[in-house]
Structure formats: structure tokens, C-alpha cells
């Protein structure tokens, strides 16, 4: 009786798992086929011949550029966000000033903002300082909008750091900057890894800012790039599949290697309302 019960529980869990994973397996399979095979053959049949040329074709056809833009914009925004959020967490939890509670409150409110409400004014602000169609606007916007969640994840860790550390450092004649950059920042590296992973996912997948602020092909990132690109290859499913696989692959690879950090980051991002 008990065994039969467990059998059905496992069955339910596996059905959910299949629902989650089958669309992605189908995507990968059709990215390696040509239209004849996709339309005539069985959806989950292995390709008769692995057509890696689909990948080569789209990579050289423009996806390569979008990919590198996504990489450098994601990396630069991560560095700025994590550095500025760490400095802010240090100022809020360790330095003594009257307005720190108010400033923390501002960042908390920042968690709830619907970005679309800020989109038009941001566009006109960037237009007036000539940053429209300039990737700098994307990097600083990503940084600003990811600061609140990154700060929230860091704060918990900063509160648990013992105060004896900075007392000892200052008595030994260590400057504040050295204390922060050489003692505190390295101590927070486990939680920094979590914030890096979560920022990577947000930045890599972001769409609306790039779609609104960037118009030149040479600055577009993958999310926006694949939009135009897929229009071009409307009827070539293999090419579309290859494009989508390329766009999601870095995140999947990061997940395979750092799944625990991703799980930790996603759980702590639950505070993002």
C-alpha cells in the first residue's frame, strides 16, 4: 500500500519534471535538424544527421556580435553592482551616521518599483545627455536597478560579521579603505559569489532597456538581437533553434557548475517584490 502510494508520488513529480524539461529537449533537437526533418519527422526523434552548420550559420550571421555584447555588458554591470552594493552595505552596517536607516529604506522601496514606470523619463534623460544608442546607458541602468536586490542579499551577511575585526584593524593602524578592500571584502566572498550569479542571470536576460535605448545592431545584446534575427529567418526553424540554444547556453552552463549558488541566490531574491 505504502509502496503504491510512493509510486504515484514519484510519477507526479516526474510528470512535472518532463513538463519542465521536454520543451527544451525539443528545442535542442530541432536546432540540429533542417525544415524537412522538423516538419515531417517525429518531434523527439534524433536528427538523422547532426546539422551543426545551423549554429555556424547564425553565429557568423550576427549572433556572435550580440553574444559578445551580452558578455561584456553583463560582466561590467556585475562588477559595478557588486562593488557599489558592497560599499553601501559597509557604510550602512559598519559606519555610524544618522541617515543610514533612511537610506536603507530608500533601497528597500527600490525593490518594489515597476521598471516600466521609469522607462519614458529614463529614455528622455539619456536622450538629453546623448547616451541613447550608447551601451553605457545600459550598463549604468543595470547597475542601478540591481543595486537594491544585491544590497539586500549582502546585508544579512554584513550584519553577522563580528565588530572585533574592524576594532582590531583600526587599533593596528589600518586605514578604512584597506580594512574594507583587503579584509572585509575578501571575507564576504561566499555571498559575493551568490550576488554575482544572480546579477548574471538578470543582466543576461534583460530585454526592455536594451530594446528601448539601443538601436544600432553593433550594440545590441542577445535578447534583443535574437528578436530581429528570428524575424529574418522566419521560416528556417533550425536556424531559430540554434539561435535560441546559443542565447540560453551560458546560463545553463553556469547553472550546471554553480547550481547551489543559483538556488541560494534565487531563494534570497524572493524578497524582490
Amino acid at each position: 500500500m505504502r509502496r503504491i502510494g510512493y509510486f504515484f508520488l514519484y510519477l507526479a513529480l516526474i510528470i512535472v519534471g518532463l513538463f519542465q524539461i521536454l520543451p527544451l529537449i525539443w528545442l535542442f533537437l530541432f536546432s540540429l535538424k533542417d525544415n524537412n526533418e522538423i516538419f515531417a519527422g517525429s518531434p523527439f526523434a534524433l536528427p538523422s544527421e547532426f546539422r551543426w552548420e545551423n549554429y555556424e550559420k547564425v553565429w557568423n550571421g550576427g549572433i556572435g556580435t550580440y553574444f559578445f555584447n551580452s558578455v561584456w555588458i553583463t560582466v561590467l554591470a556585475i562588477i559595478l553592482t557588486v562593488l557599489f552594493a558592497s560599499m553601501a552595505a559597509f557604510a550602512i552596517t559598519r559606519l555610524k551616521w544618522k541617515l543610514s536607516g533612511l537610506v536603507l529604506g530608500l533601497f528597500m522601496v527600490g525593490l518594489m518599483i515597476p521598471i516600466h514606470s521609469a522607462l519614458i523619463p529614463l529614455y528622455s534623460m539619456f536622450l538629453s545627455v546623448d547616451l541613447i544608442d550608447n551601451p553605457i546607458s545600459i550598463v549604468i541602468t543595470y547597475t542601478a536597478y540591481n543595486l537594491p536586490i544585491t544590497l539586500m542579499i549582502l546585508l544579512g551577511f554584513y550584519y553577522t560579521l563580528p565588530h572585533e575585526i574592524e576594532e582590531a584593524a583600526i587599533i593596528d593602524g589600518c586605514s578604512i579603505h584597506r580594512m574594507f578592500f583587503q579584509i572585509i571584502l575578501p571575507m564576504t566572498s561566499p555571498i559575493l559569489a551568490t550576488t554575482v550569479v544572480i546579477n548574471m542571470i538578470y543582466n543576461w536576460n534583460e530585454f526592455v532597456f536594451v530594446n528601448t535605448f539601443i538601436s544600432s545592431e553593433k550594440y545590441k545584446t542577445l535578447t534583443v538581437g535574437i528578436q530581429n534575427f528570428i524575424g529574418q529567418y522566419m521560416t528556417d526553424w533550425g536556424a531559430i533553434g540554434a539561435t535560441l540554444v546559443i542565447s540560453v547556453l551560458p546560463i545553463i552552463v553556469a547553472f550546471i557548475f554553480f547550481s547551489n549558488k543559483v538556488v541560494e541566490g534565487i531563494s534570497s531574491s524572493a524578497v524582490k517584490g
Binding site: 508520488l9 513529480l13 512535472v16 519534471g17 519542465q20 524539461i21 520543451p23 525539443w26 528545442l27 530541432f30 522538423i38 518531434p43 557599489f84 552594493a85 553601501a88 550602512i92 559606519l95 551616521w97 530608500l106 527600490g110 518594489m112 518599483i113 515597476p114 516600466h116 514606470s117 521609469a118 522607462l119 519614458i120 523619463p121 529614463l122 529614455y123 528622455s124 534623460m125 549604468i140 541602468t141 542601478a144 536597478y145 543595486l147 583600526i170 578604512i176 536576460n205 530585454f207 526592455v208 542577445l222 535578447t223 535574437i226 528578436q227 528570428i230 526553424w237 535560441l244 542565447s247 540560453v248 546560463i251 545553463i252 547550481s259 538556488v263 534565487i266 531563494s267 524572493a270 524578497v271
Partner: protein
């Protein structure tokens, strides 16, 4: 010690970069959105002050309320789907071997961009070659629906990828909360003769009430902000049948160049989101903090 730690120069040095970015790129634009809403403006030319006209027009705009209605429908679907996620989490947390691997598999769609998800599901829903209709035709359905072109089902069709995308996220949160319940409590109930179902509904569920209320807020507020997925899958169509608040605002501003009116709608979106957040928080507030 205290003197060093309250040095004004150091405080400014450490807080300024983050605070300035937050103020300039998040808070000032939000304020400006309300202000631009008072203008007649095409985004390039001169702004003309027209008072509350845009806001009055917004409140009377059938298309806006139509999009708000769709946003709220998605919010209701999302909240109802929490029951499914919760059920799966209960099963997953009941001494299942491989639970850790399973919840990681469930999480994969959550990591992908909404654009990629949207493009993939456009293919899944493709009338003649998508896996859904290929499957339906193989089991004998003669005229399977045109999922994204039929105004009466498009919103449901869009909700399925949303369900798919967020399942792993909510299951992860519920699973972590359920695993936090001390084994001794469950053991005690079992000795008293409680059934598995009673343990789930009478003991575990009340203990994770707070987490459930957080997820309700997330599901509802998140739904009010949906944009990317819908913009890519249907662009609000056919004929406005899947238009939501954010996509309507975007269309007004960046397709029709009606920046003044678009700003007013964007500001209304902000106000609605904040009000709904406050109401849901109030409704789901747990007065008695449980300790265990």
C-alpha cells in the same frame, strides 16, 4: 574608533556611488513620470502643460482598463497556480529520494530569458508544426486551436509559459520552508495518529503561512508588471486580446510617440502596483508570529 567610523568623508565615499545611481536612475525618473503625465508631448518637441487631462483620459480609457483587466486576470491565474506549486512541494518534501535533483530540474526554465521562452513557446504553439498541435493531431483532433491567434484563448495560451517559467521558483521557496519545519513536530503528530493529509494541511501549512503570503504578493505584483514575454509572443494581440498594462504603456510611448499620455499610464501602473502591494500585504499579514 568611533571617530574613524563616523568620519563624514568616508561615509560619503562608501554610500555615494550606490545612492546617487539609485536616486538619479530610479527615483528621479519615477517622479518625472508623474510630471510628464501632465504634459502633451511627443518625446522630441516641446512639452505643453495640460494639467490632469492625460490622467482623466487614462481613467476613461477603455483600452487601458482592458489591459488592466488582463493584468489582473494573469494575477489571479498566478495566485491559483500557487496551489499546484504548493502541492508539488509537499510531495517533494516528503522524504523523496532525488528531491534535490528534481527541484533543480524544475528551476531551469526560470533561468532563461523571457525572450527565449517566448520564442520557444511561439514555436510550440505553431499551428501546423508546433509540438502541441502535432501531438493533438496525432491523437485525432482534427482542427486544433490557433493558440495565439484566437482572442478567446490567447491569454490562457500565454499563461502556460508563465506557469512553466515560475514553477521552479515557487517550488524552491516552498520546499525550503517545508524542510525548515522540525522533524520532531511531525513525529509528534504522527504518534498522535494524524494522517499524512492532516499533517500537511493542519500542521505544515499553518507553519509556512508567512512564506505563502510572501509568494502571494510576489505572484500578484509580478503579474501586474508582465511585459517581455507578452511583447514577444503576441505584442498584445490579436486585436488587444492579450494587452497588459506595461505593454499598453510601451505601445503608447514607443510606437505612437505619445510620451505624455504614456507617462501618465506608466505612473498609474506605479500607483496601482503600490496600492495592490499594500492591500495584499495587509490582507495576508500574519499577526501571531509562530515560533518553533
Amino acid at each position: 574608533m568611533n571617530k574613524v567610523m563616523s568620519n563624514k568623508f568616508y561615509i560619503a565615499f562608501y554610500i555615494a556611488p550606490a545612492l546617487l545611481l539609485l536616486l538619479i536612475l530610479v527615483f528621479i525618473p519615477l517622479g518625472l513620470s508623474g510630471y510628464y503625465g501632465l504634459m502633451d508631448w511627443d518625446g522630441i518637441g516641446e512639452k505643453t502643460f495640460i494639467g490632469l487631462e492625460n490622467y482623466i483620459q487614462g481613467i476613461q480609457d477603455k483600452l487601458f482598463w482592458n489591459s488592466a483587466f488582463h493584468s489582473f486576470l494573469l494575477a489571479i491565474f498566478s495566485t491559483l497556480s500557487l496551489v499546484i506549486y504548493l502541492t508539488v512541494s509537499f510531495i517533494l518534501a516528503s522524504k523523496i529520494k532525488g528531491a534535490d535533483l528534481l527541484r533543480k530540474i524544475y528551476l531551469i526554465p526560470m533561468l532563461l530569458s523571457s525572450v527565449a521562452i517566448a520564442q520557444l513557446w511561439v514555436k510550440i504553439y505553431n499551428p501546423s508544426n508546433g509540438i502541441l498541435n502535432v501531438f493533438l493531431m496525432s491523437i485525432g483532433v482534427e482542427n486544433p486551436p490557433l493558440w495565439l491567434a484566437n482572442p478567446s484563448i490567447v491569454l490562457f495560451a500565454i499563461f502556460v509559459p508563465i506557469l512553466w517559467q515560475y514553477a521552479g521558483f515557487y517550488i524552491l521557496i516552498y520546499y525550503a520552508a517545508l524542510k525548515n519545519i522540525p522533524e520532531s513536530l511531525i513525529e509528534a503528530a504522527r504518534i498522535d495518529g494524524a494522517s499524512a493529509f492532516q499533517i500537511a494541511t493542519r500542521i505544515k501549512l499553518p507553519l509556512i503561512k508567512e512564506v505563502v503570503s510572501v509568494t502571494i504578493v510576489l505572484a500578484i505584483v509580478g503579474s501586474l508588471k508582465y511585459f517581455d514575454l507578452i511583447y514577444v509572443m503576441t505584442a498584445g494581440g490579436p486585436n488587444g486580446a492579450s494587452e497588459v498594462m506595461a505593454s499598453y504603456m510601451y505601445k503608447l510611448a514607443f510606437s505612437n510617440y505619445n510620451f505624455g499620455y504614456g507617462s501618465a499610464i506608466g505612473f498609474l501602473l506605479l500607483i496601482i502596483t503600490l496600492i495592490v502591494t499594500l492591500i495584499i500585504r495587509k490582507l495576508t499579514e500574519t499577526k501571531d508570529k509562530l515560533e518553533y
